[in-house]
């Protein structure tokens, strides 16, 4: 029987309350969002917080998808299922829909949240790469106010973020840009499994040129953002040659490890092939958006 180590439990009634509890709990306090990453780690004793602050009561306050000031704003406690059901996201950001359909399984998606997934900082987690390619900004709330960071600034290592002790992620903001298309491609062993490798891509077309492009990788090591691949897209025509060049650079710049999911060589091959597929799909969506 897998049972977490004992902990003190508090139920937050507001963001302010959660932040106060985080401050009083210090570094051994953890926030509980959907729980589908944290509770398994606690059951395996890979995590043993002394104070668990349950955010369940904030699900309504921090669970939303809305458009404001040229951005789509997603509350940190928005559940994966609610993102999948959002017409606003489906109309604008294919990459989120592709990725969300591949996260765990539908029952897990009923509880898991986007903010929880991002803050878990699992290297094989899907939503970080999706956020990266569409230029998402992350709103971090502290007791003294808010700060906003990019996806690249969030993770400081596997399962580590730059969010400080008495801070929490409250919102994800995605700029709305005309002519943008995005997609996510993932290979996994079976339903519900983590990625062997996955790739997010986005292109913004302007006339016959990629005005800006982005590639981000999941589960193959290194930085989530494939910078040289992204740079190779910007200003180039949306052609197979351009895609092949970006895919080659993405595969070169990742750092996969051989493990039970596959060899480093196989994962590097996947990074190349999935970049190609994601770029083709993103471009097709951008062209539909333009027409």
């Amino acid at each position: 029987m897998q049972i977490p180590a004992a902990f003190e439990y508090e139920r937050a009634t507001s963001v302010e309350h959660a932040l106060e509890l985080l401050r009083s709990g210090g570094p051994d306090a953890r926030l509980l969002a959907g729980g589908h990453s944290l509770l398994p780690m606690m059951k395996l004793r890979l995590a043993a917080p002394e104070l668990l602050i349950d955010l369940d009561a904030l699900s309504d306050e921090l669970g939303y998808v809305r458009e404001a000031d040229g951005e789509v704003r997603i509350g940190a406690l928005t559940r994966h299922r609610e993102i999948l059901e959002s017409a606003l996201i489906a109309a604008r950001f294919g990459v989120f829909i592709d990725a969300e359909k591949l996260i765990a399984d539908p029952v897990v998606r009923n509880r898991g949240t986007i903010g929880g997934a991002l803050c878990q900082a699992d290297p094989a987690e899907d939503i970080s790469a999706a956020c990266a390619v569409v230029g998402a900004r992350l709103v971090i709330q502290g007791l003294d106010g808010q700060r906003t960071i990019s996806m690249r600034e969030l993770h400081s290592g596997p399962y580590e973020t730059t969010i400080r002790d008495a801070e929490m992620l409250v919102e994800i903001r995605v700029p709305v840009q005309p002519g943008i298309g995005s997609a996510y491609e993932k290979v996994k062993r079976r339903v519900g499994d983590w990625a062997i490798a996955a790739v997010a891509a986005a292109v913004r077309l302007d006339g016959g040129t990629i005005a800006s492009g982005a590639v981000a990788l999941t589960a193959v090591g290194g930085d989530v953002t494939a910078q040289r691949a992204s740079d190779a897209l910007t200003g180039a025509p949306p052609s197979e040659e351009t895609f092949a060049q970006a895919a080659r650079l993405a595969a070169e710049d990742c750092a996969p490890q051989t493990d039970q999911r596959g060899s480093a060589e196989y994962k590097r091959h996947l990074a190349n092939e999935l970049t190609l597929r994601a770029l083709r799909s993103a471009t097709a969506r951008a062209l539909r958006e333009e027409s």
């Binding site: 180590a5 729980g35 668990l52 369940d56 399984d105 339903v191």
Partner: protein, 162 residues
């Protein structure tokens, strides 16, 4: 700590440790053993119950988090001696073999049909994709859920035809 919630229409309460998982609370404290405790790792889905109408793996939720919510377990499916059409479908289409995954499958199917009364086979398969049947009886489970979709609750009878 005291946990109070509504389960199958009845308010229930028990004193538990904060680390108590919902599946153990339901089975050990509320004595509703229809909810099965399977893999312990959020994979198999035997422990699925409905929380506010949505399927949730109860081995991956704290009992404390469920406080104040409305739950439904397999014990709450039959109404006034009449089985839910999903239960009847599992009988009519031989949708179970060993039966261990069945309570979770029944509840996931009920939630699916409440939202989408006429799902495609692909939608049924997607809905139960987080649940493992070790007897590999998926074909008949899909048929059973299809049977339930074709037999709305008002036409339910206590003795389904085979």
């Amino acid at each position: 700590m005291q946990v109070t919630l509504t389960i199958n229409g009845e308010e229930r309460s028990a004193e538990v440790e904060p680390r108590t998982l919902l599946v153990h609370f339901i089975r050990d404290d509320l004595d509703l053993t229809g909810t099965h405790w399977g893999c312990d790792t959020s994979n198999c889905g035997a422990c699925v119950v409905l929380v506010d109408g949505r399927p949730v793996k109860s081995c991956t939720m704290l009992a404390a988090t469920a406080a104040g919510h409305e739950l439904r377990t397999v014990e709450g499916m039959e109404q006034d001696g009449v089985l839910d059409p999903v239960q009847q479908g599992f009988i009519a289409q031989h949708g179970l073999q060993c039966g261990f995954c069945t309570p979770g499958m029944l509840l996931t199917a009920r939630a699916l049909l409440d939202e989408n009364p006429n799902p495609t086979d692909a939608e049924i398969r997607e809905a139960i994709s987080g649940q493992i049947c070790r007897c590999t009886g998926y074909t008949n489970i899909v048929k059973a859920i299809r049977w339930a979709a074709d037999h709305a609750p008002q036409t339910a009878t206590a003795t389904p035809e085979a």
